[in-house]
């Protein structure tokens, strides 16, 4: 799995973008999106996903069940 941003709730405040350790977040059409290929759920970097921790709107940066859980490389 990776995280995704629920576009309808995103305020486009940009707080998540610089916090992402994988540079997976960018602005598209006025809101921010997470590149699922780059997202590691911050595993191996921090205790909690940084985008969700800094986001001002609850339940906006959430786990995307459409993708398999990220595995930390051995």
């Amino acid at each position: 799995m990776t995280l995704k941003i629920i576009a309808s709730q995103c305020t486009s405040c940009s707080a998540c973008e610089p916090e992402c350790p994988n540079v997976a977040i960018s602005e598209k059409n006025g809101t921010f999106v997470i590149d699922p290929k780059k997202c590691t759920e911050c595993l191996g970097h921090f205790d909690e996903p940084q985008c969700a921790a800094v986001c001002p709107v609850d339940n906006t940066c959430v786990i995307d069940p459409a993708f398999p859980r990220y595995q930390v490389p051995a």
């Binding site: 305020t11 940009s14 916090e19 205790d47 921790a53 001002p56």
Partner: protein, 524 residues
């Protein structure tokens, strides 16, 4: 958008070493208490008076044309905010970042965010159109220091293209200690820190969380980190001679009594000015406080708290709690004239000499106003009376009674006593006159907003509202149209005292007034 503070006995950064010059400066500031509206009772309600008086020259130079740091300057000089800093690192219960409406006037709200390059262009466009615009602030809509690259890039661009413009910023203080040296390097000489508490127990009721060092903290722990960082940042700034204003949101039942402690804590760390603002918490704003029914203070409650802190340091009472993209004099908002589309199409020619000449003219006007007030004040000498009362004034700026009652979007409030006329606040009202038709409901709103005043000074007022005002016990005064506010108020007050003395009228105390929470609509 802004933060709070909390201070416990072992707060960070105690015993900061200061050099001798700063000690001396701080001593002078403490003696003077920063303000100099001579003739007023007690401390004045601003960062500086009309003249330099006994303010140290270096402080006077910093505040004399900064509308936020000098009450007197705010009648003459304008400011602008550029919304380059959308991200924030804390959550406040009085803020909702999702809400964004052009008719809404409160911090944290903007119509569009700008890149540093767009912001620099906007500053030039505004400075060329409004020559009395002297100050550029970055105040959000998030926290400027949670967006350090955008904030400092903007300052860098503007200091190159418009070096005569003063730079300032407003922060919650969480990351302030990390950026103090950069702030000093860009010659930002005014910093506002929002400090709502110095006790984490209180802070936990205001801040649900903070994001710090890659982690979200909540409750007491969050508030403790925040207050320690705020007070450390304040000390580091004052140590470097950077003027600090402290903003505090007055939240009845949560921090209203506690703000006296905050006042002492920030004063002892060298803050220049304290701005206690009423909580804005309408349910439609969707904030935690708006939704849980937390009320804001009444006009009397706010003034009582400001008065009680005034013995300690200068209090700012002219704050309009403006948006992070506001443009113009404090009581007005001209941001709609400077949208990104419009400024990008503008052909801007930055005329520094023209601005200088215009500002010299403004200075002459200021001097004339002060002289008129002084002259009138002398005629009050020897008058003996304990009477202290409030009057409301309709003004478009320049320190003149020059606004029609029905066109006023706000009234300025002055306290009159034998010590003179002292600015103590302002009241927002709906536009009463809507295209020539007086609206009775709006008139009631105006009366509620200035219900604690004995008189209202206007350039003009219609027959109907005049009668209704008189019926409500507020004397509508229009014989000083287009004259200086303070001089006229003192003349009127002398006359009032004479009438009380002769028994022609009886002096009766007025009731409380409401602080309006709704939208500030642009004048038609």
């Amino acid at each position: 958008m802004d933060a709070t503070t909390e201070h416990v006995g072992d707060a960070v950064g105690t015993n900061v070493e200061t050099n001798i010059d700063m000690d001396d400066l701080m001593q002078k500031m403490a003696e003077h208490k920063g303000c100099g509206t001579s003739g007023s009772s007690g401390k004045a309600s601003c960062g500086s008076g009309a003249g330099q008086n006994d303010l140290p020259t270096e402080i006077w130079e910093k505040v004399k044309n900064h509308p936020c740091y000098s009450e007197e300057a705010h009648h003459h000089y304008a400011r602008m905010h550029v919304a380059v800093a959308p991200a924030c690192n804390i959550q406040c219960n009085y803020c909702n970042r999702k809400y964004d409406c052009a008719n809404e006037s409160r911090p944290g709200v903007v119509s569009e965010k700008l890149t540093p390059e767009q912001a620099a262009k906007k500053v030039l466009a505004v400075a060329s159109t409004i020559p009395q615009m002297t100050v550029l602030g970055i105040a959000g809509p998030g926290d400027p220091l949670a967006n350090p690259e955008k904030t400092f890039k903007t300052f860098e661009l503007i200091s190159k293209t418009a070096p005569d413009i003063k730079l300032c910023l407003s922060t919650n203080g969480l990351t302030l200690p990390d950026h103090v040296d950069t702030i000093a390097r860009y010659n930002v000489d005014h910093v506002t820190i929002t400090i709502n508490m110095v006790d984490p127990e209180v802070g936990a009721k205001i801040y649900p969380w903070i994001f710090w060092k890659h982690k979200r903290y909540t409750g007491y722990e969050a508030a403790k980190i925040l207050t320690d960082r705020q007070l450390q940042g304040l000390e580091m700034l004052t140590e470097r001679g950077i003027l600090c204003k402290i903003n505090s949101v007055m939240i009845p039942g949560i921090n209203d009594q506690h703000l006296v402690e905050v006042n002492k804590a920030v004063k002892s760390r060298g803050a220049f000015l304290h701005n206690i603002m009423p909580l804005i918490s309408a349910p439609e704003h969707g904030t935690v406080f708006g939704l849980n029914g937390q009320r804001g203070p009444s006009a009397q409650e706010l003034k009582a708290l400001q008065d009680s802190c005034e013995g300690e340091m200068n209090m700012m009472r002219h704050c309009r709690q403006c948006r992070a993209d506001a443009v113009g004099l404090l009581g007005e908002d001209r941001s709609a004239e400077f949208t990104t589309d419009k400024i990008m199409a503008m052909d801007v020619n930055y005329d520094m000499e023209g601005r200088k000449a215009y500002q010299a003219m403004v200075e002459e006007e200021r001097v004339a106003k002060v002289a008129a007030k002084q002259e009138e004040l002398e005629t009050l000498a020897g008058a003996q009376s304990d009477i202290k009362l409030l009057v409301a004034v309709a003004t478009k700026g320049s320190g003149l009674i020059n606004e029609h009652f029905g066109h006023a979007k706000e009234f300025q409030v002055y306290e009159l006593s034998t010590a003179g006329a002292k600015f103590v606040g302002h009241r927002r009202v709906d536009l009463y006159c809507q295209g020539g038709f007086g609206d009775e409901d709006s008139l009631e709103t105006v009366i509620r907003a200035i219900n604690d005043c004995h008189a209202v000074f206007v350039a003009k007022v219609g027959g109907c509202p005049k009668a209704d005002l008189a019926k409500a016990g507020i004397d509508p005064v229009d014989q000083y149209a287009h004259e200086f506010i303070e001089k006229s108020a003192i003349t009127w007050f002398k006359d009032y005292l004479d009438k009380v003395k002769s028994g022609e009228i009886e002096h009766v105390a007025r009731g409380d007034a409401a602080i309006r929470q709704g939208a500030l609509i642009s004048a038609a």
